[in-house]
């Protein structure tokens, strides 16, 4: 029997230790104090291991490489810049602006809450190799090669793979936030005349003496789940060319949108775009005959009016408010998901005709200047 006892003991030891060399008794964290080390920020000497040759390319020179078609960068190009945007309010989303003294650029890091990891003023080093330089309606962007889809409208796609971010975007030292560039109408006109390479685009800018234009632009979709494309005009309602449509908030939250529609303020807005019009939103979708069945674009919602469909499928919406400096228009575009979307524009601006100074990221959109507020209006908009 001794043999059996010995055999059992040996078996127990063997079984319980057969994985011990690997990970059987790996230490397991059990809520003790064992905090990981503080992240080490990169300096230029650290970048060699990632292929940095010691030469920086300015943001201006990088943008100058763009020749109206997306440029997939294959050479060893590095840029550096300071963070000028924050997505804390939500107005900037899945992108980050950096700038050096020569210009700014939209870095399309496709992640949310970037402000949690990248601080205003922090130096960022970007290995541009394998990234793609492109434009969105004239605005320079640095992202990845565009999606190869039939519906793609963009030169670039988001850098939303963490492995790619880790290999291309490096966090450098913290520094004071960048002071905005104060811009007058002439500077704005100069930038607009230069187009893509205008050094103001993508920079943190303050424009002084702006006057409210008493006009907004918004494009809403009665059923946002259906196609947004221009090929489906029945799902488009343009709010433009007719004042503010009683919209006095920076953006339209879902609740704000519902209230607006239900108030009747949009009753005269027309469904459709271009030459294809379906009448005001108070009407019903049109019926058509397919395979002997009466159908319409809104299926089971066919008995509802467009207006009722808009309420049923309400979501938050962008609003662009027009401002003017001299003879130059600037749109201030605000998402309905922004934390300050429900805030009402100051009546001193909208009713009393006072001018204001606005600070934000200046972008260009189809040849026009556009502002994106980084911070909430109490900080970004100063009434004169």
């Amino acid at each position: 029997m001794k043999k059996f006892i010995i055999a059992i003991t040996v078996a127990l030891v063997a079984f319980s230790s057969c994985r011990s060399l690997k990970e059987e008794w790996d230490p397991v964290f059990t809520f003790g104090e064992n905090q990981p080390p503080v992240e080490k920020l990169k300096n230029e000497s650290d970048l060699g291991e990632y292929g940095f040759s010691g030469t920086w390319t300015s943001i201006h020179d990088l943008k100058a490489m763009y020749k109206n078609t997306p440029l997939e960068i294959t050479s060893n190009i590095w840029i550096k810049g300071q963070v000028t945007s924050s997505d804390v309010s939500g107005n900037i989303y899945r992108e980050m602006y950096i700038q050096d003294e020569t210009g700014g650029i939209d870095l399309k890091i496709g992640k949310s809450s970037l402000y949690s990891e990248y601080k205003l003023g922090q130096w960022i080093y970007v290995k541009c190799t394998d990234l793609t330089l492109g434009a969105y309606n004239g605005m320079p962007q640095l992202g990845l090669v565009a999606d190869d889809t039939s519906t793609n409208e963009y030169d670039t796609s988001y850098i939303d793979s963490q492995a790619i971010i880790d290999g291309h975007v490096f966090k450098g030292a913290y520094a004071d936030p960048v002071a905005p560039v104060v811009v007058d109408e002439n500077a704005l006109k100069t930038a607009l005349s230069k187009g893509f390479t205008g050094e103001l685009w993508g920079k943190l800018v303050t424009v002084k003496g702006l006057k409210y234009g008493d006009e907004i632009f918004a494009l809403v979709y009665p059923n946002p789940n259906m196609s947004h494309k221009s090929t489906n005009p029945e799902n488009r309602v343009f709010l433009s060319d007719s004042g503010t449509w009683s919209i006095n908030t920076w953006g339209l939250t879902k609740q704000g949108y519902v209230s607006l529609v239900e108030s009747g303020a949009l009753d005269k807005a027309e469904v459709g775009s271009g030459n294809t019009r379906y009448g005001p939103i108070t009407g019903r979708p049109i019926d058509y005959l397919t395979d002997g069945k009466v159908l319409n674009s809104f299926g089971t919602d066919a008995m509802l009016t467009y207006k009722e469909i808009m309420v049923k499928y309400a979501t938050a919406n962008y609003v662009s408010h027009y401002f003017r400096i001299g003879s130059t228009d600037i749109q201030v575009r605000t998402s309905g998901y922004v934390k300050f979307a429900d805030q009402v524009l100051s009546t001193a601006i909208t009713s009393q005709g006072k001018t204001c100074d606005i600070t934000g990221i200046l972008t260009v959109y189809s040849g026009a200047a556009q502002f994106t507020l980084v911070d909430e209006p109490s900080v970004s908009v100063k009434v004169n």
């Binding site: 319980s16 804390v88 793979s161 299926g299 934390k339």
Partner: protein
């Protein structure tokens, strides 16, 4: 003279022969005892063979003694059988007409082979999915089917007859202890106390127990008191390759002492990781103290106190894409390295003591009664990551996977090879990217450290379900006449379970803030509306700042009350017996919100509060109008519950019986099945009703000559079930709740279990089990969808037309099945028992297991897609229920024990499961409650990939025990 002498001698010889024949004939006697503890075994069946001929049959008495007289000299084989024990055979020689005293004949308990309890199942992390996956635990008892299926089928999370574990009644010391709020079986309360909780009685199906009328899925009563713990000092060491590395256990029991006391203690520790699932570990302990005091022949008092404090890491489900990329179906996304240590984000931490006081009153042999008071209390926490306005930290979040970047289906609009390539590189070389394929704790800490003022973006929360559960059960058993026995009892339950969460770890930050970050997205400009604790905000002007250990998020009590009574009469007439029983009761429950949530403030309680609310801009409904509220008591859900049972039993020739049971049950739904979103408000589903069950079974059982067979056919319908599933929906950016009502199902099938000696090799038997069921949904339920951060109903009472079936393009109807268990489960094997050796080898086959269904995919909304047109392709794609592939498994067990110096016992059992190392056996999973709507065509929706759990490959459990 010579003739006279011859006659006298002949007469003397004849007289002596006759004398000896009457007074000195041979025989066998002895005492049948349990090999563990030497306690007598009552009603053991002893069959004596001479060659192939059966010579005699006897039964052991209450003290285990037996006697088989009047035997001729010769060689005999004595076969001893008893319920719950392995059969034993011994050789007996009767010489010279003496009665051979065999002294102690020991039997080995069946359960010694198995160590089945809550530990036998990995803790599956389903909290965020809305699904539950609690397997049924079948105990051996006096049943050949359960003996074999109970252990062998546990690996595939087999559920007997397709019923949920909630329907299995589990009693402790005569008290029904299924969770008051969820109905789940409470085995985890005593896992690790195997010695203390070993003694139990089980009935199957709709049979009636002495401890309660029971339901339709069996009843197990665990005695748990000191005198039922095996006498002596015991120690065991167990190593296990699937759950924990080491279990050490010790127990001591005095048995009933001369002074009327019986004392017992049991302690254990379960420690370490395992071979298969990284991040799953145990650091669990258990203690048990009990005392019985017998005052006189009629009165006994039992006191028990036990708990199983500790923590265990949980396993998470992932999609097949992740498993394939990792080349590991056991991948667990819950953990990551922190300073070189494995840290699991999902850890269950419990310490829930149970105290029992039981009084037994036995004034006569014909009447016995007992009264039990049981109190459960303590903490039950489950950690998880929580984050505010930060990136999703889960490594297998769908946007981190290759499929998010490329799919061959162009309608999904995913066509970026570069990104696909990078993601694929990461997931196929996970060892090079541990921070991307597991939780990146370093990053979470560093993000928190970066925030101004130290406001944590990521925290580890601990979700608590802390029970205050007081139970009373009084039972009696009265043999009124020789032919009639009455059993019955009264029950009462008070339960107040607090649901809340605390900040378990600030992960390097200084504080967290008590706001609803999902609501913030919708109502950022209305700060009162995003408060988790509106009263605090109004009184202090800011949201509560949270430190480690603070409560936050939600806090409510689930109240449950229950009183009832039951009675059963058993009537015997010759070989025929019947029982008729019934129960009636009241069940009520409600929610009591302990904090007022900004989204659902209800009404101000007085003018002063109204003034404060108005000053803060709080919008609220006028008193008298219907509104959803988070604070205070909800309406009470109240139900009259009742059930009736009839059982018929006919014994044929001593070895066979035929019996049948039928029952009707009108049961209350559970708390967790009726509140739309208990974390946020008091609202219940509309049209609350009871669950109606009709269950029946007919059985044939044979037990004799070493043969044990049970065959059963069953049929049941369960109507008007309801269910609430909650899942995080990143499309809604909120927790979404799906309340389904009107679920009907029909379960029917057969069960066969057998163990038959081969008669070729002594001690070798053939054993097997067949369980075949057809368990399908039979109704078209309705569903209401809500989200936590809005009072609006996303879908209101919509039909689920594809819940019970799918219609193929050929017009065929595919029925949808009750999920999470194989409907076909078979086992065939050999069992060899001799000289205290046992060796079992079994081959198993499982088929017809189905994936748990998501109600969203069974709506017209999801099937039709954005264009509102339902096509055959969409219908089949969206509504079909996935069937798991069949699986073969081979298991092997061996064990042996030795006595040392007639005093000590040393033994071992080794169970090797899944010897073929089959790593592709799905044991469960669920469909994600989300749809892909970002398509090119805008004509249809797509499903998210389902998530699965898999069974581990080859694994073993080695138990070495020492007793004295």
């Amino acid at each position: 003279m010579y003739k006279k002498l011859l006659l006298i001698f002949a007469a003397l010889l004849t007289t002596l022969t006759l004398m000896f024949a009457q007074d000195y004939s041979g025989g066998v006697k002895g005492v049948v005892v349990n090999r563990n503890g030497r306690q007598p075994v009552e009603k053991a069946r002893l069959v004596l063979y001479q060659g192939a001929s059966q010579v005699a049959v006897a039964e052991s008495a209450e003290d285990g003694t037996f006697m088989i007289p009047n035997l001729d000299n010769g060689m005999y084989t004595l076969v001893i059988e008893a319920p719950d024990f392995l059969e034993n055979k011994v050789q007996v020689t009767v010489n010279d007409g003496y009665v051979k005293n065999m002294f102690n004949l020991s039997l080995t308990a069946v359960q010694q082979v198995t160590e089945l309890d809550d530990d036998s199942f990995a803790a599956f992390d389903l909290d965020d999915s809305g699904y539950n996956d609690n397997p049924t635990i079948l105990f051996g008892s006096n049943d050949v089917f359960n003996n074999i299926a109970g252990y062998n089928f546990s690996a595939v999370r087999f559920r007997a007859r397709g019923y949920t574990s909630e329907s299995q009644d589990v009693y402790l010391a005569g008290v029904k202890l299924n969770d008051a709020i969820t109905g789940y079986s409470p085995y985890s309360l005593w896992s690790g106390l195997n010695e203390a909780m070993r003694s139990k009685e089980t009935v199957n199906g709709a049979e009636v127990s002495d401890y309660g009328l029971g339901g339709y899925n069996g009843l197990t009563n665990i005695f748990g008191n000191a005198s039922n713990v095996r006498k002596g000092l015991r120690g065991s060491v167990l190593t296990n390759s699937t759950l924990y590395r080491l279990r050490v256990m010790a127990s001591y029991a005095t048995g009933m002492m001369d002074n009327g006391w019986a004392l017992a203690a049991n302690v254990s520790a379960r420690l370490g990781g395992n071979d298969w699932i990284d991040g799953v570990y145990y650091r669990s302990f258990a203690y048990y103290l009990a005392a019985d005091k017998v005052f006189d022949r009629s009165n006994k008092l039992s006191m028990v106190f036990f708990a199983t404090p500790g923590e265990r890491g949980a396993q998470n489900a992932s999609t097949q894409e992740v498993y394939d990329l990792m080349k590991d179906n056991m991948y667990n996304s819950n953990w990551g390295y922190q300073n070189g240590e494995v840290r699991n984000s999902r850890v269950r931490k419990t310490h829930e003591p149970v105290a029992i006081l039981k009084y037994d009153f036995t004034p006569s042999d014909r009447f016995q009664a007992s009264a039990t008071l049981l109190y459960r209390f303590g903490k039950n926490g489950y950690t998880a990551l929580d984050w505010y306005d930060a990136q999703d930290p889960r490594p297998d979040y769908y946007r981190n996977l290759p499929s998010y970047f490329y799919d061959s289906n162009t309608d999904l609009n995913r066509a970026n090879f570069m990104k696909w390539g990078w993601a694929n590189e990461v997931w196929t070389h996970s060892k090079d990217y541990p921070n991307l394929t597991h939780i990146n704790w370093d990053r979470l800490y560093n993000v928190n450290r970066l925030q101004e003022g130290g406001r944590s973006k990521y925290v580890q929360e601990e979700r608590h379900v802390d029970q205050n559960d007081v139970n009373f059960a009084g039972t009696f058993k009265w043999r009124a006449k020789e032919w009639v026995t009455l059993t019955g009892g009264l029950t009462a339950r008070y339960n107040a379970t607090e649901y809340y969460k605390t900040v378990a770890d600030l992960l390097g930050g200084e504080y967290f803030v008590d706001i609803d970050n999902f609501a913030e997205r919708e109502y950022a400009s209305q700060p009162w509306k995003i408060q988790n604790d509106l009263d605090y905000f109004i009184n202090n002007g800011n949201a509560r700042v949270l430190r480690k250990g603070d409560k936050y998020g939600y806090d409510y009590l689930a109240h449950y009350r229950n009183v009832g009574g039951w009675i059963n009469g058993k009537f015997t007439a010759g070989n025929f017996s019947a029982n008729v029983g019934g129960r009636i009761g009241y069940e009520g429950f409600w929610r009591q919100g302990l904090i007022r949530k900004g989204l659902f403030p209800g009404y101000p309680e007085d003018d002063a509060m109204a003034a404060k609310w108005q000053a803060a801009g709080v919008e609220y409904a006028k008193p008298g109008t219907r509104t959803e509220t988070s604070f205070g008591n909800s309406e009470k859900a109240q139900f009259l519950t009742y059930a009736a049972k009839l059982g018929l039993n006919y014994v044929i020739g001593g070895n066979q019986r035929v019996y049948a049971n039928v029952g009707y049950f009108n049961d209350a739904p559970k708390f967790n099945q009726v509140f739309l979103s208990p974390r946020t408000r008091n609202t219940m589903v509309d049209n609350l009703t009871t669950v109606k069950t009709f269950a029946s079974d007919i059985n044939w059982q044979y037990s004799g000559n070493g043969i044990n067979v049970r065959a059963t056919a069953y049929f049941a319908t369960i109507r008007d079930q309801s269910k609430v599933m909650s899942a995080y929906d990143d499309l809604q950016n909120a927790f979404s709740n799906f309340a389904i009502s009107g679920i009907d199902q029909r379960n029917m099938g057969v069960e066969l279990g057998f163990k038959i000696p081969t008669y070729i090799v002594d001690g070798l038997s053939v054993q097997g089990v067949l369980a075949w069921g057809n368990n399908v949904y039979t109704s078209t339920p309705r569903m209401t969808q809500t989200v936590d951060n809005s009072a609006e109903k996303v879908m209101d009472n919509v039909l689920l037309p594809y819940w019970k079936s799918t219609i193929t393009s050929e017009g065929l109807v595919q029925r949808h099945h009750v999920p999470s268990t194989p409907e076909l489960a078979t086992s065939l094997g050999l069992s060899y028992n001799i000289n205290y050796w046992f060796i079992d080898a079994d081959v198993e086959y499982f088929d017809n297991a189905w994936l748990d269904m998501n109600p969203l995919y069974r709506t017209d909304y999801a099937v039709a897609g954005p264009d509102n047109v339902i096509t055959d392709t969409e219908l089949l794609y969206m509504t079909t229920q996935e069937k798991f592939a069949p699986a073969w498994l081979v298991n092997f067990s061996v064990g042996k024990s030795w006595f040392i110096k007639y005093k000590y016992q040393l033994g071992f059992s080794l169970n090797a499961k899944n010897v073929l190392n089959n790593r592709n056996v799905k044991t469960g999973g669920y469909e994600q409650t989300r749809i892909i709507d970002n398509t090119v065509s805008k004509e249809r929706y797509y499903r998210f990939d389902p998530k699965y759990f898999y069974m581990s490959g080859f694994n073993y459990m080695l138990n070495i025990y020492f007793r004295f």
